[in-house]
Amino acid sequence: MKKYGWKELPLGAILKGEWSTENFPTGDWRSERPVWDEEKCTDCFLCWIYCPDSSIIIKDGKVTGINYDYCKGCGICANVCPPKVKAIEMIPD
């Protein structure tokens, strides 16, 4: 990958366009992965609200899965999923 010089870089490291975090998958940082159970999920969206990496995928008002390209395995989603539901389980990756 080309390394840019200071004259070419966006000012103050304010990133957009080609520098978007979308172009830098960070999923390989993970040591645990969340596994989501569609059967148990009540679509309360708590996991979606809390996920710091926007990795809970939602389509037409329903959770449809987890984006492992960016999910860093922090476990927040499993933690906030209501205890009576427990639709997300963390397993070693």
């Binding site: 390394k3 840019y4 200071w6 870089l9 103050g12 304010i14």
Partner: protein, 390 residues
């Protein structure tokens, strides 16, 4: 031009009212308390459109300023001393993110021991934070500097800090000429932020991790911006002078023509020095003053040009670097002239710590010693502590 009787604090609050920033996040601290208090009454009275964020500390104040500025707002705040020290961490964030926040800073000493009076230790403590720093000699300059700083900061995309001396100026009533609100507005113009976090059509990342491979490049940009800021400062000074007939520069030369020795000072002491110099001139002594106004970026090229012809330069520092060899103004001014083959001798006087008074006779003593060095070529002590008891 309307005349008003204002203290340094009132003049800063008045300039802020006329600038009418989008957001002010601040926490009161002596001697800057009044700036925040007066401005908050402007907000309460509906005289400004500003969103005033009363925070729980100066660390939070600067953090809220950074957030608001990153959202694209025109942002100001005010603090002093321990407050500026508590902001320290976030000052670097504002500069690194290139957010043109303007801070009205009232110079005051730092603990310990506890002291609420004027010296420049607080401002000098943040001299490497990447902020423009402008010092004021009197209330008129304090007011004018705040208005210019807004435009300088926004045109160079670097935050700027305007200082006035605690109590000596912050609480001193002076007759000053103020501008009309419309003049201030047309001078600073509409603010067009470089980016806005709230622009959801154009999502951005602010403050990413920047390790060994890129951090250095971004800091290099910041250094360059500080160099370029000199052009912005010149432009803004000129425009201000042309419009309002009060001229400002990086520094002011006072009776330097025909002088043999020069005294360098910043802030309110420059006023005292002028009186001392007038009286020494009457005695036929060839002394002059260079009043440094802009300390960051440091105007080393221009300083070099003006100071090189003197035999002795005596630098007054209202703070010490604890380096064991003098104060920050001394170190930088002396370094600026190092490359000359023939250069003045430099001596340093640390003075006024914790608000210790500096008088006309103190400055005369400095001038007379400098004249003596100029004759004998001998420096007894490189750094002296003016008015301190042994």
């Amino acid at each position: 031009m309307p005349l008003k009787a204002l203290t340094g604090n009132e003049s800063m609050a008045e300039a802020m009212r006329q600038i009418n920033p989008d957001v002010v996040a601040a926490y009161p601290i002596t001697p800057a308390t009044e700036v925040v208090q007066i401005f908050s009454s402007f907000v309460a009275d509906g005289l400004v459109d500003t969103e005033f964020v009363a925070v729980e500390s100066e660390h939070s104040a600067m953090s809220a300023c950074v957030g608001a500025a990153a959202a694209g707002a025109r942002v100001m705040t005010s603090t002093a001393s321990q407050g500026l020290a508590l902001m320290h961490e976030v000052l670097y964030v504002a500069a690194g993110l290139r957010l043109p926040i303007v801070l009205c800073e009232i110079n005051r000493s730092l603990s310990a021991p506890i002291n609420i009076h004027c010296d420049h230790s607080d401002t000098m403590g943040s001299r490497d934070a990447g902020w423009i720093q402008i010092f004021s000699e009197n209330v008129q300059e304090t007011y004018d500097n705040v208005i210019q700083a807004m435009k300088i900061a926004e045109s160079s995309r670097i935050p700027a800090l305007v200082t006035t001396d605690g109590f000596i100026l912050s609480h001193c009533l002076e007759r000053i000429e103020v501008l009309e609100d419309s003049e201030v507005q047309s001078f600073i113009g509409e603010y067009k932020p470089a980016y806005s976090l709230l622009d959801i059509e154009n999502p951005i990342t602010v403050g990413p991790l920047d390790l060994q491979d890129y951090y250095f490049e971004h800091k290099r940009q910041e250094i360059e911006a500080m160099r370029e800021a000199k052009k912005s400062i010149e432009k803004v000074n000129k425009e201000f002078g042309d419009r309002f007939r009060r001229r400002y520069d990086f520094f002011e030369s006072y009776k330097l023509n025909g002088a043999e020795i020069a005294i360098v000072a910043l802030g309110s002491t420059a006023g005292t020095a002028k009186v001392a110099i007038d009286s020494l001139r009457e005695e036929g002594k060839k002394v002059g003053l260079l009043k440094l106004r802009v300390f960051r970026p440091f105007p080393y090229e221009k300083l070099c040009e003006v100071l090189q012809k003197f035999k002795v330069v005596a630098v007054l520092d209202r703070s010490d670097s604890m380096s064991s060899t003098g104060g920050p103004v001394f170190t930088e001014a002396r370094s600026a002239l190092y490359d000359l083959t023939t250069r003045p001798r430099f001596v340093n006087y640390i003075y006024g710590l914790g608000g210790r008074e500096i008088t006309e006779s103190d400055i005369k003593k400095v001038a007379n010693e400098a004249l003596k060095i100029s004759k004998t070529g001998k420096i007894k002590e490189l750094v002296q502590y003016l008015g301190v008891r042994e």
